[in-house]
Protein backbone atom coordinates (compact mmCIF):
# COMPACT_ATOMS: atom_id res chain seq x y z
CA UNK A 1 0.00 0.00 0.00
CA UNK A 2 1.45 3.34 -1.06
CA UNK A 3 1.99 5.68 1.84
CA UNK A 4 0.58 9.14 1.28
CA UNK A 5 2.87 11.81 2.62
CA UNK A 6 2.56 15.55 2.73
CA UNK A 7 5.34 18.15 3.00
CA UNK A 8 6.20 19.44 6.46
CA UNK A 9 5.34 23.00 5.39
CA UNK A 10 1.72 22.10 4.66
CA UNK A 11 -0.75 23.12 7.34
CA UNK A 12 -2.26 20.01 8.82
CA UNK A 13 -5.71 19.89 10.44
CA UNK A 14 -4.01 19.55 13.81
CA UNK A 15 -2.25 22.88 13.28
CA UNK A 16 -5.56 24.58 12.53
CA UNK A 17 -7.04 23.09 15.70
CA UNK A 18 -4.03 24.20 17.73
CA UNK A 19 -4.25 27.70 16.23
CA UNK A 20 -7.94 27.88 17.09
CA UNK A 21 -7.19 26.84 20.66
CA UNK A 22 -4.45 29.46 20.99
CA UNK A 23 -6.70 32.21 19.60
CA UNK A 24 -9.49 31.13 21.97
CA UNK A 25 -7.15 31.19 24.96
CA UNK A 26 -5.80 34.62 23.94
CA UNK A 27 -9.31 36.04 23.61
CA UNK A 28 -10.25 34.62 27.03
CA UNK A 29 -7.20 36.25 28.62
CA UNK A 30 -7.91 39.57 26.89
CA UNK A 31 -11.54 39.35 27.99
CA UNK A 32 -10.46 38.62 31.58
CA UNK A 33 -8.11 41.66 31.56
CA UNK A 34 -10.96 43.83 30.21
CA UNK A 35 -13.32 42.57 32.94
CA UNK A 36 -10.77 43.23 35.72
CA UNK A 37 -10.09 46.71 34.28
CA UNK A 38 -13.81 47.50 33.97
CA UNK A 39 -14.46 46.18 37.45
CA UNK A 40 -11.66 48.34 38.88
CA UNK A 41 -13.13 51.45 37.24
CA UNK A 42 -16.63 50.57 38.53
CA UNK A 43 -15.32 49.97 42.08
CA UNK A 44 -13.34 53.24 42.12
CA UNK A 45 -16.35 55.20 40.88
CA UNK A 46 -18.56 53.53 43.48
CA UNK A 47 -15.84 54.16 46.07
CA UNK A 48 -17.83 55.42 49.08
CA UNK A 49 -15.66 53.43 51.45
CA UNK A 50 -12.33 54.20 49.79
CA UNK A 51 -9.91 56.12 51.95
CA UNK A 52 -6.37 56.02 50.63
CA UNK A 53 -3.33 57.05 52.66
CA UNK A 54 -2.64 60.64 51.71
CA UNK A 55 -0.52 61.48 54.79
CA UNK A 56 -3.30 63.22 56.65
CA UNK A 57 -5.28 61.80 59.58
CA UNK A 58 -8.17 59.65 58.45
CA UNK A 59 -11.38 61.42 59.34
CA UNK A 60 -13.25 58.20 59.98
CA UNK A 61 -10.88 57.08 62.78
CA UNK A 62 -10.67 60.40 64.59
CA UNK A 63 -12.73 60.74 67.76
CA UNK A 64 -15.89 62.72 67.36
CA UNK A 65 -15.51 66.22 68.75
CA UNK A 66 -17.71 69.25 68.74
CA UNK A 67 -15.53 70.82 66.05
CA UNK A 68 -15.91 67.87 63.74
CA UNK A 69 -19.70 67.89 63.97
Amino acid sequence: MAETTRPLTETHEIHKRRFGRNVGTALCLLGFCAVVFGLTIAKVREGGLLEANDHVPRASVLPVTEDSQ
Binding site: T5, L8, I14, R18, G20, G24, V35, L39, A42
Partner: protein, 311 residues
Amino acid sequence: MSDFTAQTLTETRTGDPEAGFGDYVALLKPRVMSLVVFTALVGLLVAPGGTSPMIGFTAILFIALGAGASGALNMWYDADIDAVMKRTAKRPVPAGKVPAGEALTLGLWLSALSVVMLGLATNWVAAALLAFTIFFYAVVYSMWLKRATPWNIVIGGAAGAFPPVIGWAAVTGDVSLASILMFGLIFMWTPPHFWALALFMKSDYHKAKVPMLTVTHGRAETRRQILIYTVLLVPVALGLAFTSVAGPVYLAAAIVLNAIFLKGAWDIWRRDEAMAEVDGYAVEKKVFKFSLLYLFLHFGALLADAIWRVI
Protein backbone atom coordinates in the same frame (compact mmCIF):
# COMPACT_ATOMS: atom_id res chain seq x y z
CA MET B 1 14.58 12.76 7.18
CA SER B 2 12.76 14.21 4.20
CA ASP B 3 9.86 11.83 4.72
CA PHE B 4 9.16 13.24 8.18
CA THR B 5 5.74 14.77 7.58
CA ALA B 6 2.92 16.33 9.49
CA GLN B 7 0.95 13.15 8.94
CA THR B 8 3.49 10.95 10.69
CA LEU B 9 3.66 13.54 13.45
CA THR B 10 -0.06 13.08 14.00
CA GLU B 11 0.19 9.32 13.93
CA THR B 12 2.70 9.35 16.77
CA ARG B 13 0.05 11.04 18.86
CA THR B 14 -2.62 8.40 18.32
CA GLY B 15 -4.59 7.99 21.52
CA ASP B 16 -3.62 11.45 22.70
CA PRO B 17 -5.53 13.70 20.34
CA GLU B 18 -5.32 17.47 20.64
CA ALA B 19 -8.58 19.05 21.62
CA GLY B 20 -9.96 22.10 19.87
CA PHE B 21 -11.10 25.18 21.79
CA GLY B 22 -14.72 24.13 21.28
CA ASP B 23 -14.08 20.87 23.13
CA TYR B 24 -13.09 22.81 26.25
CA VAL B 25 -16.16 25.03 25.87
CA ALA B 26 -18.31 21.87 25.61
CA LEU B 27 -16.90 20.74 28.99
CA LEU B 28 -18.62 23.74 30.57
CA LYS B 29 -22.10 22.56 29.44
CA PRO B 30 -23.09 25.82 27.71
CA ARG B 31 -26.77 24.85 27.43
CA VAL B 32 -27.09 24.40 31.19
CA MET B 33 -25.22 27.67 31.58
CA SER B 34 -27.94 29.59 29.71
CA LEU B 35 -30.54 28.68 32.37
CA VAL B 36 -28.06 29.64 35.10
CA VAL B 37 -27.37 33.01 33.46
CA PHE B 38 -31.06 33.82 33.04
CA THR B 39 -32.19 32.89 36.57
CA ALA B 40 -29.14 34.50 38.21
CA LEU B 41 -29.73 37.66 36.18
CA VAL B 42 -33.35 37.84 37.33
CA GLY B 43 -32.26 37.26 40.96
CA LEU B 44 -29.76 40.08 40.60
CA LEU B 45 -32.14 42.51 38.88
CA VAL B 46 -35.10 42.05 41.23
CA ALA B 47 -32.95 42.39 44.38
CA PRO B 48 -33.50 45.65 46.27
CA GLY B 49 -30.76 48.27 46.03
CA GLY B 50 -29.36 47.40 42.65
CA THR B 51 -25.76 47.49 41.56
CA SER B 52 -23.68 49.09 38.80
CA PRO B 53 -24.01 47.46 35.35
CA MET B 54 -20.32 46.49 35.29
CA ILE B 55 -20.45 44.80 38.70
CA GLY B 56 -23.72 43.11 37.73
CA PHE B 57 -22.20 41.87 34.48
CA THR B 58 -19.12 40.57 36.30
CA ALA B 59 -21.29 38.79 38.87
CA ILE B 60 -23.34 37.01 36.17
CA LEU B 61 -20.19 36.16 34.21
CA PHE B 62 -18.53 34.44 37.17
CA ILE B 63 -21.72 32.74 38.36
CA ALA B 64 -21.95 31.27 34.84
CA LEU B 65 -18.28 30.34 34.89
CA GLY B 66 -18.75 28.63 38.27
CA ALA B 67 -21.64 26.64 36.79
CA GLY B 68 -19.40 25.74 33.85
CA ALA B 69 -16.65 24.64 36.24
CA SER B 70 -19.02 22.29 38.03
CA GLY B 71 -20.04 20.94 34.62
CA ALA B 72 -16.39 20.17 33.81
CA LEU B 73 -15.95 18.43 37.18
CA ASN B 74 -19.12 16.43 36.49
CA MET B 75 -17.79 15.37 33.08
CA TRP B 76 -14.49 14.34 34.64
CA TYR B 77 -16.15 12.16 37.28
CA ASP B 78 -18.95 10.77 35.13
CA ALA B 79 -16.79 9.86 32.11
CA ASP B 80 -17.44 6.15 32.71
CA ILE B 81 -21.22 6.66 32.77
CA ASP B 82 -21.15 9.06 29.81
CA ALA B 83 -19.19 6.56 27.70
CA VAL B 84 -21.92 3.92 28.14
CA MET B 85 -24.93 6.09 27.33
CA LYS B 86 -25.72 7.03 23.73
CA ARG B 87 -26.84 10.59 24.62
CA THR B 88 -23.56 11.45 26.35
CA ALA B 89 -21.00 9.26 24.55
CA LYS B 90 -19.92 12.15 22.31
CA ARG B 91 -18.97 14.40 25.23
CA PRO B 92 -15.31 15.52 25.06
CA VAL B 93 -13.95 13.14 27.75
CA PRO B 94 -15.63 9.84 26.73
CA ALA B 95 -15.06 10.72 23.06
CA GLY B 96 -11.33 10.92 23.82
CA LYS B 97 -11.00 14.54 22.74
CA VAL B 98 -10.04 15.89 26.17
CA PRO B 99 -8.11 13.77 28.73
CA ALA B 100 -10.03 13.32 32.01
CA GLY B 101 -7.19 14.95 33.96
CA GLU B 102 -7.50 18.11 31.90
CA ALA B 103 -11.24 18.28 32.58
CA LEU B 104 -10.51 17.98 36.32
CA THR B 105 -7.78 20.66 36.19
CA LEU B 106 -9.98 23.02 34.20
CA GLY B 107 -12.90 22.44 36.56
CA LEU B 108 -10.84 23.09 39.69
CA TRP B 109 -9.12 26.22 38.36
CA LEU B 110 -12.32 27.72 37.00
CA SER B 111 -14.07 26.96 40.31
CA ALA B 112 -11.39 28.83 42.25
CA LEU B 113 -11.30 31.70 39.75
CA SER B 114 -15.08 32.17 39.66
CA VAL B 115 -15.49 32.08 43.46
CA VAL B 116 -12.61 34.49 44.13
CA MET B 117 -13.67 36.89 41.37
CA LEU B 118 -17.31 36.87 42.49
CA GLY B 119 -16.17 37.58 46.06
CA LEU B 120 -13.96 40.48 44.94
CA ALA B 121 -16.57 41.89 42.56
CA THR B 122 -19.55 41.65 44.91
CA ASN B 123 -19.35 40.12 48.38
CA TRP B 124 -18.23 36.92 50.13
CA VAL B 125 -21.76 35.71 50.92
CA ALA B 126 -22.42 35.39 47.18
CA ALA B 127 -18.99 33.80 46.69
CA ALA B 128 -19.62 31.28 49.48
CA LEU B 129 -22.99 30.37 47.96
CA LEU B 130 -21.33 29.83 44.57
CA ALA B 131 -18.61 27.67 46.17
CA PHE B 132 -21.30 25.61 47.92
CA THR B 133 -23.24 25.23 44.66
CA ILE B 134 -20.16 23.92 42.84
CA PHE B 135 -19.44 21.54 45.74
CA PHE B 136 -23.05 20.39 45.80
CA TYR B 137 -23.18 19.63 42.07
CA ALA B 138 -19.73 18.10 41.73
CA VAL B 139 -19.50 16.18 45.01
CA VAL B 140 -22.97 15.68 46.52
CA TYR B 141 -24.81 15.10 43.22
CA SER B 142 -22.20 13.72 40.78
CA MET B 143 -20.05 11.67 43.15
CA TRP B 144 -22.67 10.50 45.59
CA LEU B 145 -26.39 10.86 44.85
CA LYS B 146 -26.39 10.15 41.13
CA ARG B 147 -25.14 6.60 41.57
CA ALA B 148 -26.77 5.92 44.92
CA THR B 149 -30.46 6.81 44.88
CA PRO B 150 -33.35 7.28 42.43
CA TRP B 151 -34.06 10.56 44.24
CA ASN B 152 -30.83 11.96 42.80
CA ILE B 153 -32.79 14.37 40.62
CA VAL B 154 -34.79 15.71 43.55
CA ILE B 155 -31.88 16.52 45.85
CA GLY B 156 -29.41 17.26 43.05
CA GLY B 157 -31.88 19.77 41.65
CA ALA B 158 -30.78 22.12 44.43
CA ALA B 159 -27.58 22.84 42.52
CA GLY B 160 -29.60 24.24 39.61
CA ALA B 161 -31.81 26.20 42.00
CA PHE B 162 -29.03 28.25 43.60
CA PRO B 163 -28.22 30.77 40.79
CA PRO B 164 -31.05 33.26 41.55
CA VAL B 165 -30.09 33.11 45.25
CA ILE B 166 -26.48 33.92 44.32
CA GLY B 167 -27.62 36.72 41.99
CA TRP B 168 -29.73 38.15 44.82
CA ALA B 169 -26.89 37.83 47.35
CA ALA B 170 -24.49 39.53 44.93
CA VAL B 171 -26.58 42.71 45.35
CA THR B 172 -27.87 42.47 48.92
CA GLY B 173 -25.21 40.36 50.63
CA ASP B 174 -27.87 38.18 52.24
CA VAL B 175 -30.52 35.52 51.67
CA SER B 176 -34.17 36.49 52.02
CA LEU B 177 -37.61 34.87 51.82
CA ALA B 178 -37.98 36.01 48.20
CA SER B 179 -34.67 34.45 47.16
CA ILE B 180 -35.51 31.23 49.06
CA LEU B 181 -38.82 31.02 47.17
CA MET B 182 -37.00 31.56 43.85
CA PHE B 183 -34.78 28.65 44.92
CA GLY B 184 -37.87 26.63 45.83
CA LEU B 185 -39.48 27.32 42.46
CA ILE B 186 -36.58 25.77 40.52
CA PHE B 187 -36.04 23.04 43.13
CA MET B 188 -39.65 21.82 42.98
CA TRP B 189 -39.86 22.27 39.21
CA THR B 190 -36.83 20.06 38.46
CA PRO B 191 -38.33 16.60 39.29
CA PRO B 192 -41.52 16.87 37.16
CA HIS B 193 -39.51 18.50 34.36
CA PHE B 194 -36.86 15.79 34.33
CA TRP B 195 -39.17 12.82 34.92
CA ALA B 196 -41.47 13.93 32.06
CA LEU B 197 -38.37 13.75 29.86
CA ALA B 198 -37.33 10.40 31.34
CA LEU B 199 -40.74 8.90 30.44
CA PHE B 200 -40.33 9.42 26.69
CA MET B 201 -36.54 9.56 26.29
CA LYS B 202 -36.04 5.99 27.53
CA SER B 203 -32.35 6.67 28.17
CA ASP B 204 -29.97 3.81 28.75
CA TYR B 205 -29.37 4.68 32.42
CA HIS B 206 -29.79 1.03 33.41
CA LYS B 207 -26.81 0.16 31.18
CA ALA B 208 -24.75 2.72 33.07
CA LYS B 209 -26.14 1.43 36.39
CA VAL B 210 -27.57 4.83 37.30
CA PRO B 211 -30.68 4.36 39.47
CA MET B 212 -33.36 6.41 37.73
CA LEU B 213 -36.89 6.47 39.13
CA THR B 214 -38.38 5.09 35.89
CA VAL B 215 -36.17 1.99 36.27
CA THR B 216 -36.11 1.45 40.04
CA HIS B 217 -39.76 2.24 40.85
CA GLY B 218 -41.40 1.83 37.45
CA ARG B 219 -43.04 4.21 35.06
CA ALA B 220 -46.45 4.26 36.81
CA GLU B 221 -44.78 5.44 40.04
CA THR B 222 -42.85 8.07 38.06
CA ARG B 223 -46.16 9.39 36.72
CA ARG B 224 -47.51 9.57 40.28
CA GLN B 225 -44.40 11.38 41.51
CA ILE B 226 -44.70 13.93 38.68
CA LEU B 227 -48.19 14.79 39.93
CA ILE B 228 -47.08 14.92 43.60
CA TYR B 229 -44.16 17.26 42.91
CA THR B 230 -46.28 19.47 40.64
CA VAL B 231 -48.89 19.80 43.40
CA LEU B 232 -46.10 20.77 45.82
CA LEU B 233 -44.67 23.21 43.27
CA VAL B 234 -47.90 25.24 42.97
CA PRO B 235 -47.89 26.84 46.47
CA VAL B 236 -44.20 27.72 46.14
CA ALA B 237 -44.79 29.41 42.77
CA LEU B 238 -47.88 31.24 44.04
CA GLY B 239 -46.23 32.10 47.36
CA LEU B 240 -43.53 34.02 45.51
CA ALA B 241 -46.30 36.28 44.17
CA PHE B 242 -46.83 37.66 47.68
CA THR B 243 -43.25 38.76 48.26
CA SER B 244 -41.79 42.18 47.57
CA VAL B 245 -40.14 41.10 44.29
CA ALA B 246 -43.36 40.07 42.57
CA GLY B 247 -46.33 42.07 41.36
CA PRO B 248 -49.49 41.77 39.28
CA VAL B 249 -47.69 40.44 36.20
CA TYR B 250 -46.13 37.59 38.18
CA LEU B 251 -49.39 36.79 40.00
CA ALA B 252 -51.36 36.58 36.75
CA ALA B 253 -48.63 34.53 35.03
CA ALA B 254 -48.27 32.18 38.02
CA ILE B 255 -52.02 31.46 38.19
CA VAL B 256 -52.25 30.63 34.48
CA LEU B 257 -48.96 28.71 34.20
CA ASN B 258 -49.56 26.61 37.31
CA ALA B 259 -53.09 25.73 36.21
CA ILE B 260 -51.74 24.50 32.84
CA PHE B 261 -48.80 22.64 34.41
CA LEU B 262 -51.05 20.99 36.99
CA LYS B 263 -53.45 19.89 34.25
CA GLY B 264 -50.48 18.43 32.31
CA ALA B 265 -49.23 16.51 35.38
CA TRP B 266 -52.77 15.24 35.99
CA ASP B 267 -52.99 14.03 32.37
CA ILE B 268 -49.64 12.23 32.70
CA TRP B 269 -50.83 10.50 35.89
CA ARG B 270 -54.10 9.40 34.27
CA ARG B 271 -52.30 7.65 31.44
CA ASP B 272 -50.49 4.34 31.37
CA GLU B 273 -47.71 3.09 29.14
CA ALA B 274 -50.10 1.48 26.64
CA MET B 275 -51.90 4.79 26.08
CA ALA B 276 -48.60 6.65 25.83
CA GLU B 277 -47.21 4.19 23.27
CA VAL B 278 -50.25 4.71 21.05
CA ASP B 279 -49.74 8.45 20.58
CA GLY B 280 -45.95 8.38 20.85
CA TYR B 281 -45.83 9.97 24.35
CA ALA B 282 -47.54 13.11 23.01
CA VAL B 283 -48.75 14.29 26.44
CA GLU B 284 -45.40 13.66 28.14
CA LYS B 285 -43.58 15.55 25.37
CA LYS B 286 -46.06 18.42 25.56
CA VAL B 287 -45.67 18.71 29.35
CA PHE B 288 -41.88 18.60 29.09
CA LYS B 289 -41.83 21.39 26.49
CA PHE B 290 -44.28 23.41 28.56
CA SER B 291 -42.13 22.95 31.68
CA LEU B 292 -39.31 24.84 29.96
CA LEU B 293 -41.68 27.68 29.12
CA TYR B 294 -43.12 27.51 32.66
CA LEU B 295 -39.81 28.34 34.32
CA PHE B 296 -38.79 30.90 31.72
CA LEU B 297 -42.11 32.77 32.01
CA HIS B 298 -42.10 32.76 35.83
CA PHE B 299 -38.70 34.43 35.93
CA GLY B 300 -39.62 36.60 32.95
CA ALA B 301 -42.70 37.80 34.87
CA LEU B 302 -40.53 38.69 37.89
CA LEU B 303 -38.36 40.74 35.55
CA ALA B 304 -41.42 42.41 34.02
CA ASP B 305 -42.66 43.39 37.49
CA ALA B 306 -39.22 44.82 38.35
CA ILE B 307 -39.26 46.91 35.16
CA TRP B 308 -42.88 47.92 35.89
CA ARG B 309 -41.83 49.23 39.30
CA VAL B 310 -39.00 51.31 37.82
CA ILE B 311 -41.30 52.84 35.18
